[in-house]
Symmetry: C2
Subunit: 761 residues, 2 copies
C-alpha cells in the first residue's frame, strides 16, 4: 500500500452512526453505477443500514402531492432508484455465519485505495467455536467497464482445515430508503420496481425489473466464481425475484479461498435491450482474469491523477482528504449525456439523486480545468434537457426562452417548494456560466456552435422576459438567490450579475459565431433575430445592481438591509442548521444567510466591484452567514484568499475539506456532499492559487498557506497542460505540453513557454 | 306568498350546472347544521350532485402532505365533514319512481321563503303511465331547534286514486365531495367517518358515527311520520349503517298525503352524550305539531328582519338579492362559541368548512351593527382558540403573543401554502379590529375585560415581535397582505396600518380598563407589563407606512411599484381568474391585484390619508385589480362611494350583489360566498350610507344611487335602535328605541333624540 493514496480506518466502530457513515464514505461508483459499502453478510436486527445500488439517471416518476394546489406546481418528480442488491455474501463455518457482531473480531480495518480504485475490508475473525478466519474483501466499480461492480472475497482459514460454506444472493425485491423526519431525504418508501422476470443462463442470474411509472427497465446480472481446491458448487436457485447460490468448500488452513462475484447493470435508457446488454457485458468481463479489470482500473486512475493531481506538502491528512474529494468527483460524474452529477453522487439517496446548480458552480470547474471532455459531457447533458427547460419556462409564465429546473434527473422540475426551488432562476445563468467556462478553457467554438450557444441564447431570452424596466434600469423581481434563507426577492445581486453575464455572452457568442461563419445553423434552429441581440445588450448594459452607499456594500437584494439582523447571540448551537428549527418565513424575515450569495458573486463576478466594496461586503456577510449549506465555506475561503485574509481563508478551507470524512454536517449517511468536494478543490486552485478563468485569459495570484510547505496542481488551458507548484520560494509554472501560451500572474501578462517562476507576493 | 320575501325559480333547468348551483342556492342552514338542497328522490346516473349535510365546527383531522418538508409547515388540517344523509325520500306510483328526469314534468318551481324560513319545490308530474301527482316539498333548518332539519313532503294524486308508496332512507355511509381539478375544494375523498352502531327506538333510527382521527362522534336521527287515510307503515329496516322505512298509502284523488321527515343532529363537541341528545331532541320536536316549528321559525326571522331589515325601493330584484344575502348570513353564522362562519357557510364543501379573516372583515360588521349578541359570539369563538393562536405564534418563531391561523376550524393552522396562508398576519389584526368594532358598537367594556382585551393584547405582543426597527421606523417584513397576487413582501400598507390599529387599541384598552378598575384580572392572567404598553405605543407611533411621492399614492408594499404592470391588454378573458392559469411566482412579479388591499386600507383606516391620496390610490389600483376574489368589488364600491364616484360605486355594488344568484364566479356549486354577502351589506351601509364606526362615534354620509327611489337600513348603536331612510328628499334618522345619542352626519355632530332629517349632499 502506498500510504499517500490510502484512506484507512482501523478497529472499525460498530455503532449505528459509524456504520451508516462508512457505507457512504467507502461506497464504490464510476459515474454510471454506485454501490454503498454495506457489509456483505448483513447486520443484526435493530441496526440501520441503507443497502443500495444506484444507476446514475435511472429513475421512476413519483407523486409529489402539494398541500395546496396551485397552477404550475410540480406534482410529480423523478427519483433515483435503488435497483437491486447483489452485495450479499455469507460465509458459514460449521453452520455459524460470519458476522462482525458475533464471535470475536480480532482485528479489522477498511480502506479506500485511490490509486487502484477499490475499497477493502480486512477482518480477522474468531467464530464462537474457536475457528479463526482471515477475511479480505475488495470491492470495485470498474471505470473501464462502467456496468460492472465486483466483489473480490477471500477467506483464509487460520487455525483449521475444513468446510467453509459461501452463500451468494441476488435480490431484485428492493426499495428506496426513507426517513420521514429529515427534509433532506425522501420521506416515503414506495415500491418503484416491479419484477418482470428472472433467468439463469451460463452460470449467472439475471433479474429484469420494470419501473412503475417511468416506463424504464433494468437488468442486473450476478455471476459467482470460486477458486479453491475441493468445492461443491450448488445450482443457482431462482425463486421469484431472488437468486441464491451455495458453495461448499473443503478449505485448507492457510490457503485462501477466493470468491469473486460479478454484478452487471444495464438499463433501458442507454441500452435498447437491457437483458442482452447485461449478458454480453457479463460474458465479456467474466471471461478475462479479474487482474485485467484491476489493471484497467489502475490505468484509468493513473491518467486521471496525472491530469488532476493536487498535492499538499506539510499536511498529509489534509492531502489525503483533498485527494479523497477529487476521487469522489470522478466516482460521481456521469460519463454519458444521460446523466450529470447528483448532489450526493452515487453514494446514497439524499436529495433523491437529483442534479442541482451544484454541478455547474461547484463540481464542473474541477473537470473543466482537468478533464475538459468530462466537462463537455456535462454541458451535453444540459443540452439534452433544453427542450424540457423550454417547457419549464412556459409553465413559469415565460413567453420565450428556457428556464432550467432547480432539481431534476431527466429535465422536469422536481422541486416541490418553489420559493427555494424554481425561484432560483440563477441556475439557468449558472449553466450558461459554466458553458462559457468550458469554452474559455478549451476554445472549443465548434461545440458552442453545435450546442453551447443554444443554451446561452435560450437562457438569455428567458432573462429578458423575466426582468422588467424600471426608471431606466433592468430589474429582476420575485426570484431567490443562492441563499435559501431569503426567498422571493427583488434584485438579488448575484442573480442580476449572473443574468448580466448570461446576456453578455449571448451577445458575444453571436458575434464570435457570426465572424467564424458558424452562426447560421443555431440562429435558424431557434429563430434568433438580430433585434433580440440588441435587446440582450440593452438589458445587459442597464442591469440594476443594488449598492448601499452608507455601508459601501452590495445588499443581497432590495429589501435585505431593511430587515433586522438575526439574533445570533441568543440562538443556541443545537438550533443549527436553522432550517430544521425555524419556520422558513421567520428565517426570511431576518438578515441571516444560509450560504454564500453576494460573497459568491464577489468571487464569480469579481470585476463588478472594486476591492474596497468586496472587502466591506465580505466582512458584512461573514458575520451573518451560518454556513448551514455545504456550498458555503469553500466560497468564503476563496474570497478570504482574494482579500489576503489568510487565516480566515485557511479556516474556511479546513471546514470544507473535513465535511464528509468527519461527518460535520451529520448527514453523510445519506451520501457524500459532492458540491463541497468540488468547492474544496476550488478553494485551493481559485482560493490559494488565485486562479481565474476570464474572457481576458487565465489569471493566477498564488499564495502559500503558512501551514503548508508547498502545493501543486495541474490544469489544462486551451489544450496546454500546465503544472503549478507553489512553495516557500515562490510559484513555478511549467508548460508540460502544448504551444506557448499567455497567462496572467499577479495581474501581469506573460508568455509561458517552458517554465516561469515568480516569488510569492 | 309575499313576493318581497321570496326568491323563486320556475321551470327548473335540469342541466348539471344549474342543478349543482341550486343545491347551494336553496340550501337550508341555521348556523349549526346545513343541508344542501338535493332532490330527495336522487338523480340518474351521470349527473353530478354534492349530497351533503354539515355541522358547523364538526371536523376530522386529515393529512396535508407537503411536497417538501419544511419546519413548521402544517401537515394536518381540519376538514368539515359531510355527516350523514337523511334527505332521501322516494315516491312510487305503480312501481314507477317519481323523478324529474323521467315521465313528464308538467310544471316545476323552487323557492326560498325568507320570511318563513324554508325552501320549497313544487312539481306537477305525469308518470309514464299517465298518472299525475302534485308534489310540494318544504325543507327547513330550524332556528328555534338548531339540531333539527325537517322535510315536509306532500303528494296529491291529481287524476287518480290508488296506491302511493313512499320510501324514506337514513344513510350513515357518506363521504365528502372531491374535485381533484379545482384548487378551491378538497382534492380527495377519504372516509372520515366510521360507523359505530345504529339503533331503532320509538319509531326513529339513530346512527352513531365516529370520526377517524379527531376523536369526535356524531349521532343523526331520522323519524318519518305520515298523515294519510289508509296507510300500511313498514318497520324501520336497519342494515349496517343504513335505515329504510316504507309506507304504502291508499291515496285519494285530490287529497294530499303529508309525509314529514325529521332529522336530528347531535355531535360530541357540544353534547356530552350525542346519542341521548339526539333522542331527546327528536322526542321534543316530533311531539309537537310541525306548525309549531314553522311558527317559531317565523318568529325568529321576524325578529331578525326587524333588527336588520335592509330595503331598496325602485329595484325589486336587487332588493331581493340584498335580502337573500342577509338571509344567508343568518343561516351561516354559528350560534355557539364552538364555531364561526365558514367561507361557504354551511352550504357546501368549498374551502373545507374553514374560517378565514372573511368573518371579521366582511361578515361580522353586519352582525355587529344588527345583532350584537351574534357578533359577541364570534369574538367568543376566537377567544376560545386563543391558546391555539399562541401555539401558532411559537411555530412561526415568535417568542410571545398570538398569531391566528389563516384558515382553521378548531384553531390549528390548516393552510398548506404559507405565502398566501400563514403569511397573512393581518388576520390577527383583523380579529383585533372587529373585537374593537364590537366594543365601539356596544360599549361593552365588561366583555373586553373578560375576553376581548386579551385577544388585543396578545396580538399586539405578536406585532412587536414580528416587526423590526429600521432608521427610526417600525417595519414589518415578509408578510402577505389581503391581495394574494403579491406575497411575502416588506411593509404591506394594509398590514402595517392594521398592526398600528391593533397596537393603538392595546394601549387604549389598557388605559380604559385601568380607569374602570377592570384591568387587573386580564393583566395578571397574561403577565402584562406596563413596559409592554410603552413598547406598543412606541411601535404604533413609529409605524412605517409606504408612500410614493411621485404618484402621490400608497404603494401596496415596498417593492410593488418597481414591478412591471401586468399585461392586461394581452390577457385573454379565459385566463381569469389568473390563479388558475399562471404560476404564482409569475403573478407575484407583476403589479396586479387579486383584490382590494391598499383600497381596503383606504376604507378601514381612511383617516390615515387625505382624500387626495385616497383618490389617486383608488384610481391607480382600480386599473390593476382583477377582482378574482369575491372579497373585492364590495370594497371598491365603498371607496368609490366615499370618493363620490357614484357610477363606479353602483357598478361594483351590482357585481357583488349578483355573485351567487348569478353564479358569476362559476363556483357557487361549492357553496355560497358568504363574505361577499356581508360585503354587499357593507356596500350599502358603509358605501351608499357612508357609515363608519370610529372611536369618535358613529358617522354617516348618505348618498342615494340614482337608480333607486329610496333605501332603508337599521342599526343598533350603543344600545339604540336607529333607522336610516334615504330617499330623494334626503336622509331621515329615527331613534326607534333608547336614550338620545350623538351621531355625526356629513361630518357634523348632532344629537339624535327622536328623528333628524338632512338633505342629500
Amino acid at each position: 500500500m502506498s500510504e499517500k493514496w490510502i484512506y484507512k480506518i482501523d478497529d472499525l466502530k460498530m455503532d449505528n452512526e459509524a456504520l451508516l457513515v462508512n457505507e457512504t464514505i467507502f461506497h464504490n461508483a464510476n459515474g454510471y453505477i454506485g454501490v454503498r459499502s454495506n457489509f456483505e453478510e448483513g447486520y443484526p436486527e435493530g441496526y440501520d443500514t441503507i443497502r443500495g445500488s444506484y444507476i446514475n439517471g435511472f429513475y421512476d416518476i413519483t407523486e409529489m402531492k402539494q398541500a395546496e394546489k396551485l397552477f404550475g406546481m410540480a406534482e410529480e418528480k423523478e427519483t433515483m432508484l435503488n435497483v437491486a442488491d447483489g452485495q450479499t455474501i455469507c460465509v458459514y463455518l460449521d453452520g455459524k455465519k460470519f458476522s462482525m457482531f458475533d464471535g470475536e473480531v480480532l482485528s479489522s480495518s477498511r480502506w479506500l485505495d485511490m490509486q487502484n480504485g477499490y475499497t477493502a475490508r480486512k477482518v480477522l475473525w474468531k467464530a464462537p467455536n474457536g475457528k479463526e478466519v482471515d477475511i479480505e474483501i475488495r470491492r470495485m466499480a470498474s471505470f473501464s467497464h462502467l456496468q460492472v461492480f465486483v466483489i473480490d472475497y477471500q477467506v483464509t482459514p487460520v487455525n483449521f482445515s475444513g468446510e467453509v460454506i459461501i452463500e451468494s444472493e441476488h435480490q431484485g425485491n428492493v426499495r428506496n430508503y426513507c426517513n420521514p423526519n429529515d427534509p433532506r431525504v425522501a420521506g416515503e418508501s414506495f415500491q418503484h420496481l416491479i419484477p418482470d422476470h428472472g433467468v439463469v443462463e451460463n452460470g449467472a442470474s439475471y433479474l429484469i425489473t420494470n419501473t412503475v411509472s417511468s416506463g424504464l427497465q433494468v437488468c442486473t446480472g450476478v455471476k459467482n466464481t470460486i477458486s479453491a481446491g475441493e468445492t461443491e458448487t450448488g445450482e443457482i436457485v431462482l425463486e421469484g425475484h431472488h437468486a441464491v447460490q451455495k458453495f461448499i468448500i473443503q478449505a485448507k488452513q492457510g490457503e485462501a479461498v477466493r470468491f469473486v462475484k460479478y454484478m452487471v447493470f444495464a438499463d433501458s435508457i442507454r441500452y435498447q435491450d437491457a437483458q442482452t446488454s447485461a449478458k454480453d457485458e457479463m460474458e465479456a468481463v467474466s471471461s478475462v482474469p479479474l487482474e485485467q479489470l484491476y489493471k484497467e482500473q489502475r490505468e484509468y486512475l493513473d491518467k486521471f491523477w496525472e491530469s488532476s493531481a493536487l498535492e499538499i506538502d506539510g499536511d498529509d491528512a489534509l492531502c489525503a482528504a483533498v485527494r479523497y474529494n477529487a476521487y469522489q468527483l470522478i466516482q460521481s460524474v456521469g460519463k454519458d449525456p444521460y446523466c450529470d452529477i447528483a448532489a450526493k453522487g452515487l453514494s446514497g439517496e439524499g436529495y433523491e439523486g437529483h442534479y442541482f446548480w451544484d454541478t455547474e458552480m461547484y463540481m464542473q470547474p474541477f473537470f473543466t480545468l482537468t478533464n475538459p471532455e468530462v466537462s463537455k459531457n456535462l454541458v451535453e447533458y444540459r443540452y439534452s434537457t433544453l427542450d424540457k427547460a423550454r417547457e419549464n419556462a412556459r409553465i413559469l409564465g415565460h413567453k420565450k426562452g428556457a428556464a432550467y429546473p432547480w432539481r431534476t434527473i431527466r429535465g422536469r422540475e422536481c422541486s416541490g417548494y418553489f420559493p427555494s426551488g424554481s425561484a432560483q432562476y440563477h441556475i439557468s445563468g449558472d449553466i450558461a456560466y459554466s458553458t462559457v467556462a468550458y469554452y474559455l478553457a478549451t476554445g472549443d467554438l465548434d461545440f458552442m456552435a453545435e450546442k453551447g450557444a443554444e443554451i446561452i441564447f435560450e437562457t438569455a431570452r428567458m432573462w429578458v422576459d423575466l426582468g422588467c424596466w424600471h426608471k431606466g434600469t433592468f430589474q429582476i423581481h420575485e426570484v431567490t438567490g443562492p441563499d435559501e434563507y431569503t426567498c422571493l426577492v427583488s434584485n438579488n445581486y448575484y442573480t442580476n450579475l449572473n443574468a448580466q453575464y448570461n446576456l453578455h455572452w449571448a451577445v458575444r457568442l453571436y458575434k464570435l459565431l457570426k465572424e467564424a461563419g458558424k452562426l447560421e445553423p443555431v440562429a435558424e434552429r431557434i429563430g434568433l433575430q438580430e433585434s433580440e441581440i440588441e435587446e440582450f445588450e440593452k438589458a445587459e448594459k442597464a442591469m440594476y445592481l443594488p449598492y448601499d452607499e452608507k455601508l459601501g456594500i452590495n445588499p443581497q437584494d432590495d429589501s435585505f438591509l431593511n430587515k433586522a439582523v438575526w439574533d445570533f447571540e441568543n440562538t443556541p448551537k443545537e438550533d443549527y442548521p436553522l432550517l430544521l428549527h425555524y419556520h422558513p418565513m421567520h428565517i426570511y424575515r431576518y438578515q441571516v444567510c444560509k450560504q454564500a450569495d453576494t460573497v459568491l458573486a464577489h468571487f464569480i463576478f469579481e470585476d463588478a466591484q472594486d476591492m474596497e466594496t468586496i472587502r466591506k461586503s465580505f466582512a458584512y456577510y461573514d458575520k451573518i452567514t451560518t454556513h448551514d449549506s455545504s456550498l458555503s465555506t469553500c466560497i468564503y475561503s476563496i474570497v478570504a484568499s482574494k482579500l489576503g485574509l489568510a487565516d480566515k481563508a485557511y479556516e474556511y478551507f479546513g471546514d470544507s475539506a473535513k465535511l464528509d470524512l468527519f461527518n460535520t454536517h451529520q448527514n453523510t449517511k445519506d451520501g457524500i456532499h459532492t458540491a463541497n468536494m468540488g468547492g474544496n478543490y476550488m478553494a485551493i486552485v481559485y482560493g490559494f492559487g488565485g486562479f481565474r478563468l476570464k474572457e481576458s485569459g487565465a489569471w493566477f495570484a498564488p499564495a502559500l498557506p503558512k501551514q503548508w510547505d508547498a502545493y501543486r496542481f495541474k490544469l489544462i488551458y486551451l489544450g496546454r497542460h500546465i503544472q503549478v507548484v507553489v512553495n516557500k520560494e515562490g510559484t513555478t509554472f511549467t508548460l508540460e505540453s502544448g504551444e506557448p501560451v499567455q497567462i496572467h500572474v499577479y495581474g501581469e501578462e506573460c508568455l509561458l513557454e517552458n517554465s516561469l517562476h515568480f516569488p510569492l507576493k
